[in-house]
């Protein structure tokens, strides 16, 4: 019944493609962009004779998908609805709170209305085609959402649905009412004795429009403004209007009673119509025909309705005012058939028909292709699912197993939002409710977000940490660290290694520090090294650096006794990296050269000589090193140790 459009074709105009031989290759990049480049395939093995300097233009084309939701004016729709979505999910999980689907449905619709108003404010003269289009899309969405709410979420005692349908129609087709107020508020007509129906060419259209919305009171007011309102036909008509029985659920009138009153009222109107009382004014006669439910008026009604569902409701007012919800389907199909000569429905028509038909599942499926990037299908499906209006198992995607369709919508929509540079945080909200697959998507998408600004990096890390996605944290930190390292900012790189608890990376950076020290005799970035934090526990290299700096400080502060204890500890634990051994051993000199004091016992000194021997053997095996300066000091060390031994021996003798 509906047109099925499989896909859209997009032409890519570019001078590169003038040559018919040129092929177009496409690939994806970034989050969801497409890159296209021109090339030729002449068999990869025989085009070696590169012509060199040809002037052919070769353009690479990047395609970015821009959708309504990414527009700055529509973004509030995304952000606010994600808030409502989250509130709804937490309420569902909380047994103490009742999930009032109607309340949330109205909240979502309120967000839609605010968004439409915001678009209007930015497009006062309606000159921006894009905004006009967006407004139309959102307006239709609101209309269809409201209908869904009226038919499925509002509970009507006795199922007499017409009043709710009228409310729905009145809100979305306000034209007649607006025109009516233009006419009644115009005081000049009264003062100048002008004929109101002549001054306002839309007078009768307005009256009919009001009548077709069941707005009898306003229509009556307009009639009494008519220049002929004191003539007999008008007096009769106004009287009929006034006496029309209105049905109200809480009015106390039983349906049967109301129906008989309505019929009585209509037949008295009909008899007047048949007497030809209104014939003097053809417009008035037409209005009365509608009121009497005359079958001849169908085409008139049709011409005053812009959609088939407006047509349906208009007819119901005067043919079956106490229509029950379950018989709507039948009426709907009849109305569609009468409204359209051929089956030329648009998307909105089929959506509305599905709703009247009670085919919620079909409706939800069709809503998915509404061009709002899944906003409506995600939120409405989720809402209907949570209030048990639709079963979750009605469709299964083959690609992602173990998910229900509701989850599939959330997954698609969340992923879609994550691809936007400023909406990604809203996207996280939806993926959070997608069980295991959602987590997989989150970890992938979070780590793919560009990490250009530091603020964004902290946000990403915050989200990842809160969701225990430690792989994301360590990956992002490593990338940032590597970028710092590329710029030779070792201190910054170290901060990232610490943040990412990346001991392998930290070891590499520690090596850079120590090698720098071997060369220059001092550490870069002392402030970072003073505040290493937990990395000293997880990374051996920094455990060593930390201890070594502590040792240097003690030595500097002339606390040589404590320094010596630490020094021996460093040598014994053997956590010193090979390339630093000699440098470390050199430090023994500071205990030797300045004083005659002895800080080491015999065991310590044998440890020092042992480490020294090891270091020298290693040194000889690995001849690449060119630090002859250190080697020349070996003799000094040995000499110093001999001196120390002698001092300590003398001491020992004396104490004995």
């Amino acid at each position: 019944m509906s047109k099925t459009i499989v896909y859209d074709t997009l032409s890519i105009p570019d001078p590169s493609f003038i040559d018919d031989e040129v092929r177009m290759f496409g690939s994806w990049f970034g989050m969801s962009n497409i890159c296209i480049f021109p090339t030729k395939m002449s068999g990869p093995f025989n085009n070696q004779n590169s012509s060199g300097d040809d002037k052919t233009e070769r353009n690479i084309i990047h395609l970015k998908h821009k959708t309504m939701l990414f527009d700055p004016k529509v973004r509030q729709l995304v952000n606010e609805s994600s808030g409502v979505f989250q509130e709804l999910q937490t309420n569902v999980d909380d047994p103490t709170k009742a999930t009032d689907a109607l309340y949330y449905s109205r909240k979502y619709r309120a967000i839609l209305s605010t968004c439409i108003l915001a678009i209007d404010r930015n497009n006062l003269d309606k000159s921006n085609e894009t905004y006009n289009q967006y407004k139309m899309l959102l307006h239709n969405l609101q209309l269809i959402w409201h209908l869904c709410e009226v038919l499925y979420l509002v509970t009507v005692p006795g199922d007499t649905i017409l009043n709710n349908l009228l409310d729905w129609i009145k809100i979305h087709y306000e034209n007649a009412e607006n025109q009516a107020s233009v006419i009644t508020e115009n005081k000049i007509v009264y003062l100048t004795d002008e004929h109101v129906e002549e001054k306002f060419t839309f007078y009768w259209d307005t009256v009919i429009g009001l009548v077709l919305q069941g707005n009898i009171d306003t229509a009556r007011m307009l009639l009494s403004n008519h220049s002929q309102s004191d003539t007999e036909p008008f007096i009769h008509a106004i009287k009929i209007f006034k006496s029309m029985p209105t049905y109200s659920i809480y009015g106390g009138l039983p349906i049967a009673e109301y129906t008989s009153r309505f019929k009585g009222w209509q037949s008295s109107a009909k008899s007047k119509l048949e007497c030809g009382i209104f014939l003097s004014d053809s417009n008035l006669n037409d209005v009365m025909k509608i009121i009497c439910g005359d079958p001849d008026s169908t085409s008139l009604i049709r011409s005053h309705c812009s959609t088939w569902f407006q047509f349906l409701v208009a007819q119901l007012i005067y043919t079956d005012p106490t229509v029950k919800k379950h018989s709507l389907s039948l009426y709907a199909h009849r109305s569609v058939a009468k409204y359209y000569e051929e089956s030329e429905y648009n998307h909105m028509d089929t959506l509305a028909l599905d709703l009247f038909d009670g085919d919620l599942e079909g409706f939800v499926k069709k809503l998915k292709s509404y061009p709002d990037s899944g906003w409506s299908s995600t939120h409405l499906t989720n809402l209907l699912h949570l209030c048990d209006k639709i079963e979750p198992e009605f469709e299964m995607s083959e690609v992602v197993e173990n998910t229900n369709p509701n989850e599939q919508y959330l997954l698609d929509y969340g992923t879609f939002l994550m691809t936007h540079h400023s909406l990604w945080q809203a996207g996280v909200t939806y993926l959070d409710y997608c069980s295991a697959v959602g987590k997989e998507h989150l970890s992938m998408l979070l780590s793919k977000l560009e990490i250009t600004s530091d603020l964004r990096v902290s946000k990403i890390l915050h989200y990842a940490t809160a969701r225990r996605l430690h792989n994301v944290v360590s990956s992002v930190c490593k990338v940032k660290g590597m970028l710092s390292l590329q710029k030779s900012r070792i201190g910054e790189a170290l901060c990232w290694a610490i943040r990412g608890q990346d001991s392998a990376f930290a070891t590499h950076l520690g090596d850079l520090y120590l090698k720098e020290y071997v060369k220059g005799g001092s550490f870069a970035c002392p402030d970072i090294l003073d505040n290493l934090g937990s990395i000293v526990v997880t990374c051996d290299r920094f455990m060593f650096i930390g201890k070594y700096i502590q040792f240097l400080k003690l030595a500097m502060g002339n606390k040589l006794n404590e320094a010596a204890l630490l020094y021996i500890e460093l040598l014994r634990s053997n956590i010193c990296p090979n390339y630093f051994r000699l440098t470390l051993l050199m430090d023994v000199l500071m205990f030797i050269e300045n004083s005659n004091e002895c800080y080491f016992n015999i065991a310590d000194m044998s440890l020092i000589t042992m480490r020294l021997d090891d270091a020298i053997t290693e040194w000889n095996e690995d001849n690449e090193s060119d630090n002859q300066y250190l080697l020349s000091k070996v003799f000094n060390i040995r000499q110093g140790i001999v001196k120390l031994v002698s001092i300590s021996l003398i001491r020992k003798k004396m104490t004995v």
């Binding site: 499989v6 859209d8 074709t9 997009l10 032409s11 105009p13 570019d14 493609f17 018919d20 092929r23 177009m24 290759f25 496409g26 690939s27 994806w28 990049f29 970034g30 969801s32 962009n33 497409i34 890159c35 480049f37 021109p38 030729k40 990869p44 093995f45 085009n47 070696q48 590169s50 012509s51 300097d53 233009e57 070769r58 353009n59 690479i60 990047h62 395609l63 970015k64 998908h65 959708t67 085609e129 292709s369 061009p371 995607s397 690609v399 992602v400 992923t415 987590k439 997989e440 998507h441 992938m444 793919k448 560009e450 990490i451 990956s475 490593k478 590597m482 970028l483 590329q486 030779s488």
Partner: protein
Amino acid sequence: MVEAHSINAEHKDLIHDVAFDYYGERMATCSTDQFVKVWDQDEQGNWNLTASWKAHSGSVWKVTWAHPEFGQVIATCSFDRTAAIWEEIMGESNENGTLLRHWVRRANLVDSRTSVTDVKFGPKSFGLILATCSADGVMRIYEAPDAMNLAQWPLQHEVSLKVPSSCLTWNPLLSNFRTPNAMIAVGSDDNSNTSNSKVFICEYNEVSRRWAKTESVASVAHPVHDMIFAPNMGRSFYLLAIATNNVRILKLKPILNYNFLHSDATSGFPYTIETAAQFNDHFCTVWRVAWNITGTVLASSGDDGCVRLWKSTVDAWKCVGVLKRDGKLPQPQSKKTQSTAQNNLTRFFKLGQITHPSEVHWH
């Protein structure tokens, strides 16, 4: 609505490959003119050429980026029988305060005796590992034992497939599946016969510590020009897209209860392979296939000059969009944005608005 942005590639001959870094912020191009160029996106979204160098002494077929956790590293392969690994170095800043960047060759992989047709870095969980394939049908694995030292790239494994190889792809591997073996699919564009298989699966065997060919996919017998595994995203199977005489999507499903401990190179293949989809819409040879970020939409480029987008829906794969080349010059709208472009390589044009509900769904 689609916004297009055109960049003059400034290559003096055919472009063979365009590759983007992990974030899509950097672009590398390579060409028959033997040059590799690197482009960077600035804050305004303009792409600027930041490096251009003669990388090989023959056509450069492919260029590929390593994961940024390993730094700014790319690999190239060429008709000159080599593959190369390049790292970006930042020097001192110049007088304008901007850092000078340049790319240095960290390794030259010269083991192939014929043209090297494809080069790809492995999944980052395996460390810094690289696979190449060549026209003489040899797949090679290189590995940097120390990821912080890019100068060492010993050749680790060689697998001879005996037919000219055109492309390879690493399996991104399942995260929720018990330690599977590393896997690479290699394709062949040998067109001397159309009865033999053109897709080979190679796996690393933990027990023998060797790479070996473990499966030939019999259902693909036409020359294969490109292949790519879909990002896994928590699925319990692998999807392999193949560009051959049509677009093919194979589904590799692990056989449950398969005993990995007793699997060696000869005892079979622990996956079932079925064709998940096959599209003949290009009506002729398909040259390239590419998955989107979540592995839900496939882009295929064919001899018909179109790029077609395929998306998996409830029960089947469906075409969701077609990009068609058009030799006509861009619409005059492009003039508007010229004012902003300090580099006149860039221009914007809108490709028309999509008002109908069937708006192109890329997502």
